[in-house]
Symmetry: D2
């Protein structure tokens, strides 16, 4: 197994980290699953995430993909790191279902010394058809990750 393939944080450590660092939004998110190079994040949909008509807004879906990717990277490189988003390309494909949570399934495709790349597939809870897909790049401060 390659060095970067081992998780450095547990689900509860990630959840605590999120509550401490992002107190304004951490209640919105739940980590449903966590594994090496992958993570599923749930947005507990509330009034403020909705557009008129009752569907989850684009910025809320963007935030879900962005926070999910951030946590997936952190889980692999540890909490002392300061990864920052440098690019996100997101396709909105279908209206989210009304009245249910949305879930992002994230996979890391590259965890390099300076860049991490991954993508997210977002679906409404209990439905298969993807609502959105996103690809994200994070920049990692030097000296935090050994493997390329």
């Amino acid at each position: 197994m390659k060095p970067q393939m081992t998780l450095k944080m547990t689900r509860s450590e990630l959840t605590e980290f999120m509550a401490r660092e992002f107190p304004q939004v951490s209640d919105d998110f739940v980590i449903d699953e966590l594994g090496p190079m992958r993570l599923s994040l749930r947005l507990k949909v509330r009034e403020l995430h909705l557009r008129p008509g009752g569907t989850v807004s684009g910025p809320a879906l963007f935030a879900l993909a962005d926070v999910g990717m951030y946590l997936a990277v952190l889980a692999m490189i540890g909490p002392e790191a300061l990864a920052v988003t440098t690019n996100c390309s997101i396709d909105f494909m279908r209206k989210p279902q009304a009245g249910v949570d949305v879930i992002a399934d994230l996979r890391l495709l590259k965890l390099g010394r300076v860049l991490a790349v991954g993508d997210a597939l977002i679906r409404s809870d209990g439905h298969e058809a993807p609502v959105a897909r996103a690809s994200l790049t994070y920049s990692i401060p030097q000296g935090k990750v050994q493997a390329g």
Copy 2:
């Protein structure tokens, strides 16, 4: 002048439309400038837009670009239309300055029968270096725009 080059809405009509359709967020935004195929939108930065450290969050910058593009399209095709975002690719380049608004300068590059394409350059108020850039595609419901 091509048919699509004429504004169909004034700045105050757009502002009223935004207040009616997006009451939760319309107070956050001010249209600084409006012209054919271009619009400048200001995010009046508040506590809820900030990440720890005092910089504007990624989702807030995404929302600024997205709302700005939406308004720029609407200004050209009229308020009865139902344009929806289909893609956004955003690059985060620099930390926004603390304590000032951020402004997105949007330009429409294509206003087709089914798709509108544009981009946004986002900067901190009073500073030149771009904080972020985004390109956005909107899908336009059939029968709303005549020109190609």
Copy 3:
């Protein structure tokens, strides 16, 4: 099964179509696999696809993703259609291995009335680590596809 979930073309029909419509490049590509909403396309790497150093060039990888998505869409909507690429976002993650083909695994995530959205994972033949990933949007001329 939804209407759009059935293949309208076989692998050999797609190959013949490619030879007829793209005679300059069709010898470069082989369809390795084909299924509903998915297709694997191989680039038979030749001198002209290489950059100095012997790795496959960015434009060659872009063409592989683009042609693969085009064929995956055509397989579902039939050869009379005239789908055109409207967006491609591609991440280059690792150098391709020297001396081997590259393969793109494509999946369609949405096949709508006017837009098709999919993504591609590109790897060197015999290696697992992804070389590149791409997401692509195709515009479909009206009246060609029934399902949304």
Copy 4:
């Protein structure tokens, strides 16, 4: 003027570099204009760049944006560097005009220590309406650029 705002290479130095490093394609491209943080690159359209119907192919437009960005970065950081494309998001907006060259106008928006970000507007020679737009990110090997 900031340190990174000075050109380190002239137009003829860039042209020579391109001829030496990319002998297969360098005849296709001409640098029309060069300035600090900006460059215009012309693709001399030939048979092999065309799709059926006589319009320039997507991969040829992608290559134009990619080579243009590469040269724009090199002009600022010098020829010893080894910048590599990490992301390109490209929107195809209109068919290129038949029988004329296409030109990409590139601007660098960020020239950082590890990443350079820019965008390209591509048009048919003698026409104003943009054919395509692209945003590109290049990774820069460490120790090559001082300014952030």
